[in-house]
């Protein structure tokens, strides 16, 4: 170390627009996740167990077209959902908690970046990474099934492909807020990761116990919410689902968690 006798040089470059700077945060999250060995191992393992086998199996099996109930069943599979929950816990664990712990949140908020944009950057980064598991592989599976179909109704298959896209994005959309909320509630990444997993898992267990009294209680489970919304997105019969309860449950899993995260960021910004 030590200082060389060099002078301070000004920078005269052109600045990017304020409302695009959250993309830097999102981009950084994507690179950071794929540099993390535990994440990569889980991601690859999950891809092999959840996506590679169905891709091969469904492609080889004779089929006339890509069917909505097949894709809904594949995306609502228990293993897929458990990997989703595990991944969202791992992806979101340190996204905000680490900034709180290290106090780097102060640096972010002292730059020309509004708290909402900071949150948007974190959310987008988590969404992109999770979508690489929940959206891209199902799209590949659906594309492979469409490419190997015997029938000629490609338009129908394309429609299911579009619904698969929506279902993949929806999975990430529903799970990321809970992961971010847990990350914002603590400054320890382990607590945040375990907390997000347990929150989603315990709700599922409670739903299972209370579900013996009334099937409406099943909607307490995020997994059940995902399964029912897949049915809705794939245009399947949802008459057995209490949609009056499903909508508030979807809102409860997304809006309050994001509001809590935003409030926590605001409070940290003023040093509380």
């Amino acid at each position: 170390m030590g200082i060389d006798p060099i002078g301070y040089k000004p920078w005269n470059g052109r600045r990017t627009e304020h409302n695009r700077r959250f993309l830097v945060i999102a981009e950084n999250i994507v690179w950071e996740r794929f540099r993390s060995k535990p994440f990569l191992v889980l991601f690859i393992l999950g891809a092999i167990l959840v996506h590679v086998f169905p891709l091969i199996f469904y492609s080889i099996m004779p089929h006339s077209e890509l069917e909505a109930d097949l894709m809904s069943g594949y995306m609502g599979d228990g293993l897929f959902l458990i990997f989703n929950i595990t991944l969202v816990s791992l992806i979101c664990a340190d996204l905000i908690s680490e900034d709180f712990r290290s106090n780097s949140i102060v640096l972010y908020l002292s730059k020309a970046l509004q708290p909402g944009r900071y949150l948007l950057g974190k959310w987008l980064g988590a969404m992109v990474v999770l979508c690489l598991f929940t959206l891209v592989p199902p799209m590949l599976v659906a594309t492979a099934i469409t490419a190997t179909q015997d029938g000629s109704d490609y338009l129908g298959s394309l429609a299911v492909l579009g619904r698969t896209f929506l279902a993949g994005a929806w999975t990430a959309l529903l799970l990321v807020p809970v992961g971010l909320m847990m990350s914002a509630l603590t400054s320890k990444r382990t607590y945040a990761g375990v907390g997000a997993f347990m929150f989603l898992f315990i709700l599922t267990i409670i739903a299972g116990v209370l579900g013996t009294f009334s099937s409406d209680w099943q909607l307490l489970s995020p997994i059940a919410v995902l399964e029912h919304t897949y049915d809705f997105l794939f245009g399947l019969d949802v008459s057995n689902v209490n949609s009056v309860l499903l909508v508030p449950m979807v809102i409860m899993l997304t809006v309050p968690p994001m509001w809590i995260v935003y409030q926590r960021i605001l409070r940290k910004g003023v040093g509380k």
């Binding site: 170390m1 030590g2 200082i3 060389d4 060099i6 002078g7 301070y8 040089k9 000004p10 920078w11 005269n12 470059g13 052109r14 600045r15 990017t16 304020h18 700077r21 830097v24 945060i25 950084n28 950071e32 680490e98 900034d99 290290s102 106090n103 780097s104 102060v106 640096l107 972010y108 908020l109 002292s110 730059k111 020309a112 970046l113 509004q114 910004g269 003023v270 040093g271």
Partner: protein
Amino acid sequence: MGACNRMERDSSDSTIVSDGLLVRFGSINALDHFTVNVPKGIVGLLGPNGAGKSTFIKTVLGLVQSDSGGISINGLDPREDALAIRDMVGYMPEHDCLIESMSGVDMVAHFGRISGMSKEDAIPRSHEVLDFVGLGEERYRPTGTYSTGMKQRVKLAQAIVHDPGILFLDEPTNGMDPLGREEMLELIGRIGASDKSILVSSHILQDMEKVCQHVIIINSGRVVVQGPMRQMLDQGKGRVHIKVRGGSKALFSFLEALRGRYSVESVSDEFGQMTISFINEGDSGPLLEMAAHAGVQVRAYYPDRISLEDVFIRSMKEVA
């Protein structure tokens, strides 16, 4: 309206102008009708813990909203133009704030990009500022492994990476060894020399005395005293001290001559050496002639200056 006009008039030679700023946290007034003109140059913001230094900086950055009063930074209001202000401001927080998993160079480039630099600009610029702050090959290591001195340098680097016109440095020499402190002060001086306005908050008053051109002392959310450093330290108003040595007859002859021409305030005589305090707002030429004429040897001649610590303690006592 009146406050605004006054602020516009005052802001011509000031970087930050606040007029009757009130910031409340519950029932506590963190800033209590805080009125200050922060001039250009290196300005020291001094005050005990909880005086309101950090709250003032956060209010300027728009992170804390004021309840009443006016504030402007280079003519912009942080309540309306927070993002524009933050683009022209660099902030070095007091506490640890580095992303420990990132290397120094990656972190500085990351915050450069968040401050509006393109990727192509941010990477070479981060190397440039890390060279400037004196961080060598360590820049490629995760910041979690850095010593306190290195962390302070990276914090400074991230604050200047986007070349802000105004810098807020909160305890920049905190936890640094004497050599590191000297180097940090030298860096602040160099940045200040490149036409930047720097607001330095610190409780190490010797450091402030070395580097600041202007001082603002605050306590309990109010400005206690503010003014140029030279004026603050020169509280003697022409009072000087002279130490002379010689025979007792010559010494008393010199003292009499001195009394005839100047207003002598105190005299102490110790073993053939006399220390005389008197008021002399002119130059020292006639004085030396008088000494030569009386046959005494001048051993020392110096103005009566007080330290910043004296100014600070005196200000705090006055408030108490």
